[in-house]
Symmetry: C2
Subunit: 289 residues, 2 copies
């Protein structure tokens, strides 16, 4: 089965465990709405690419890790869109969860998606439960405090913010989780895979800052110019447009350099280079391709 089908099937199975007939209808509908249809599923695809490059020795666990990472990403979007954060009206081209279902259900849908991610991992325990414990720990690190998404968003409430640390926690951490879990799911030591994920995450964040400036609401599915409007740290603000594009290119080059030795190294490098071309907003050319 191709990676996209594996991810969608794993997400369907996971969400189907929560959004049952026993679940309050509003919450069940909101869970589906928050996860389907998805965005580019960049993080779970990265996780499966690394699992594949490492031999894909436990596909069920790799699928569980990939879908848990995407569920957590969706949870973070639902909470990030809330009125007390970005107050976003549009996400993935449709009304944000709190506008469609109300704020209480949006808070609960985010909470339930976080829990569902860990339940999904537990269901994939299989025979090598120690491997599962490692993945639960890695995923927790990527989304909690002090190194994960929750901490990253909390930096927005601090008076002094180090831009690199802000991006590393809010965005980079879940990319690092994706590469590390892909390796761990295939029985490889996850630690050497952290740098790859962090660099891809940093590149993705720079690309997101670029998109925020150069694309319109229709093409990104969310309002543009939000970083400047909210005086949020942005690579474009600090480096300028050309500087940000150069930074993105440098990060992608550094990422592929950071791929650790593994059976599918060359294929993985090609995938990452190809994927990174989609990062760049339409209308912004690569300076050196």
């Amino acid at each position: 089965m191709d990676p996209t089908s594996r991810i969608e099937l794993a997400l369907e199975t996971a969400v189907g465990q929560a959004a049952t007939e026993d679940c309050p209808k509003g919450l069940a509908d909101a869970l589906r709405y928050a996860v389907f249809p998805g965005g580019a599923r960049v993080r779970p695809r990265l996780c499966l690419s690394v699992a594949h490059a490492c031999g894909d020795t436990d596909p069920a666990l790799a699928d569980a890790a990939a879908s848990a990472i995407e569920l957590l990403h969706c949870a973070s979007l639902v909470h990030d869109d809330l009125p007390c954060f970005d107050d976003a009206a549009i996400r993935r081209g449709k009304p944000s969860v709190h506008l469609a279902f109300g704020e209480p259900i949006a808070v609960l849908a985010g909470d339930a998606l976080i829990v569902l991610a860990f339940e999904t991992l537990a269901r994939a325990a299989g025979s090598d439960a120690a491997r599962l414990a490692r993945i639960v720990g890695l995923i927790g690190r990527g989304v909690g405090a002090p190194h994960g998404i929750a901490a990253g968003q909390a930096w927005e409430s601090e008076p002094d913010v180090d831009l690199a640390r802000y991006h590393r926690t809010k965005t980079g951490s879940l990319f690092a989780t994706a590469t590390m879990c892909g390796a761990a799911a295939s029985g490889h030591d996850p630690v050497p895979w952290q740098a790859l994920g962090e660099r891809i995450g940093e590149a993705f964040q720079v690309a997101d800052d670029l998109r925020d400036v150069v694309e319109d609401t229709l093409s990104t599915g969310k309002p543009s110019g939000q970083d400047a409007a909210r005086a949020r740290p942005s690579a474009v603000t600090s480096l300028g447009l050309a500087g940000a594009v150069r930074r993105l290119e440098g990060l992608v080059a550094a990422a592929v350099e950071a791929i650790p030795p593994c059976p599918g190294r060359d294929e993985l490098r090609d995938q990452i280079l190809q994927e990174s071309r989609h990062f760049l907003p339409k209308g912004v050319p690569l300076i050196a391709a």
Copy 2:
């Protein structure tokens, strides 16, 4: 070490892993504030009592389960107090987290506490990782959808609510998680322990409904009369004051009947009967003690 010290130490250790110097200060402070000083720690004490009654064969895992359950309870309080839910100003006798730290940090603190609960379990994996997977699954079931706290709170947004199901999910589920995880942490089959937890949870909910009516803000640490003010389902509304007290007594009696065979059955029964006396609000006498 006595159970209270075990729980506080385990919670200190867990929160210390998240609220580090690397963590944004607002979030770190909010995490501590949400967990310390605690309430009665009823759920983690129940978990450890059951683990003890079952032989306490893996105290580190029992401590992790107990503290994870309390972290999740604290997370649910932080989110339940938010303006879009109860809009509560006071919790445990001090300003609620969103009043003390702002709404964004309150949302993130709840999220980070949920994640921390699962990280805490992963850290306690030890040699029997399969046991850990079972506990992650049980805890996920108790707090997520469709059977756990998130679903329970979501019933408040539905037009038709079955009172029993509402209480079973919003309150009973985490008590059932506590008894089941206590048993599972000591290597016993958790399933026979579900009924005990559910009945204690139901008794606790009835006691909470009674407290909401008869006690004042000073003694409960939160505003009274909120159920009637919000037209929320309540045992006192449906059964009357005397009827609710009789229901509470019946549930406690049914709970001790439901204790499965285990080495420490008699001691556990005595503990539960003693504990349940503290459930009853001051000034409300037991009808048949």
